[in-house]
Symmetry: C2
Subunit: 280 residues, 2 copies
């Protein structure tokens, strides 16, 4: 089964992501202090001065969409990194040069993203098309990887929940909240597989001493996937689709085989990953 | 006066650049052998093995437009570089990793460009928005710079030829062929200024031992700018605009102040640049 690509609505019209991403912005603002602290405490800036390009500080925003949130986040990250360098006695003339890579699916609206980059930006900008579940950058070329409200998008819905012949088929639903236990387990397994792909790729791409910061919505500790609190958001869509099935506008099979490729992990699931020995 | 940005028509419709760039393709094919030879003879692949990211071979296509020509050119360049490395005894496992930066104006259709990147590409891809008359990349981060059929686009038409009060105003024409001598000289001076900006920026961005390959249309040696042979292409447009002036659809002043920001240099002009001492 192919990877699925659900991109945010491009442009800057009324229904665009650019005009409808305030909630994500609030989340990023809350995380700002945490990210600043992580950079201050954990970023390793001892670099190999013999290397002519070691002064490039590569930052990637994975799943950046079309803006404007990414602009605010990149400015905050760069500010924190500059502060860290200055606290180590580095002067303006010897600060690193920033190169920011904005990544999202090939079908993301990069035209809008590029048109809205801040004119006074303090970095070289580049767009990188492709799924972050694969390699996107050369080995050791990034010093900071950021991803906000993107990793809840799985590479695809777990195949079995859309398979009409499977015992795990998620019939009459398009999400795993209040579904059969097996459906929640299948989603959890897909998330684990995707995170492994994500982290393996980043382990290659991150330079020694670099950092990854991930912002994503999660569910309450100690709960099962099917007890996810993200569900109510999708209830109106589910109900509308069921109405369309009843009115024979779409077929029951189509509804049964369609499932949203999103997942909201618990803190325990995330801790499971950070306990693994990743070779960064 | 602001820089002007004339981008090729995006998308892949009937009038798109993607469907109307065969001539440029033929030119790039002719240049292939020259570029292969230049890489074989002049590319310096002695690198600093102590540097962890020295294995990244950065290539930029400046003024890449939306494809598909750039895909063919990038494949040819990478093939030639790989051959060069192999001829020096490097094996598959120690070949450089390629990262290709596709550059064009912010208003270029990067969405179409990204959608048409070859699926089986042997490089990491990135899009870089911005004018190549400015810095686009960190210092020493590129090993090969390529630009095809892009540098005849000046950063702007020389201001004086569109200034109604200037003795150099190019009245009743939108191009410098068969114009007053001063108009040709103004264009030549603008081209020189732009090339200086272009080469200064690249001198910073190119890594030691790297190469630049520029493909552009030129005019016959020993001719004046006003004897340019590119002119006839624009004659129909000029005539149509003059008809519109006569029919009072557009104003005479508008016609007099508008000039195409393109230039076709002679071999002597280009040699003038290569004789200068650029610190690459």
């Amino acid at each position: 089964m192919q990877e699925e690509s659900y991109v945010m609505i491009g442009g800057d019209g009324r229904h665009s992501y650019a005009k409808n991403s305030n909630l994500q912005r609030v989340g990023a603002d809350h995380a700002k202090t945490l990210i600043m602290e992580a950079i201050t405490e954990n970023l390793d800036i001892d670099e190999d001065v013999s290397c002519p390009v070691s002064n490039i500080f590569g930052i990637a925003d994975l799943g950046c969409s079309v803006g404007p949130n990414t602009n605010v986040s990149m400015r905050n990250i760069i500010e924190a990194v500059v502060q860290k360098y200055k606290s180590k006695g580095r002067h303006d003339s010897s600060l690193p040069v920033f190169q920011v890579f904005f990544n999202d699916h090939v079908s993301n609206d990069f035209n809008t993203l590029f048109a809205n980059l801040p004119v006074d930006r303090q970095y070289f900008a580049a767009g990188v098309p492709g799924s972050f579940y694969h390699r996107l950058f050369p080995k050791a070329s990034l010093k900071f990887v950021y991803s906000a409200y993107a990793l809840h998008w799985l590479s695809k819905a777990p195949p079995e929940v859309g398979d009409l012949d499977s015992a795990s088929c998620n019939k009459g639903k398009l999400y795993y909240q209040n579904a059969k236990k097996e459906v929640g387990q299948a989603y959890s397994a897909q998330f684990e597989k995707d995170m492994e792909s994500f982290l393996s790729a980043r382990a290659e791409e991150l330079a020694p001493g670099g950092l990854i910061a991930i912002l994503m919505s999660g569910r309450k500790e100690g709960t099962l996937p099917i007890q996810s609190s993200l569900g109510p958001q999708y209830q109106p869509l589910e109900s509308s689709l069921l109405d369309m099935v009843n009115e024979e506008i779409i077929s029951k099979d189509k509804m049964d085989s369609f499932n949203l490729p999103i997942y909201s992990p618990s803190a325990e699931e995330i801790k499971g990953f950070s306990d693994k020995k990743w070779v960064f």
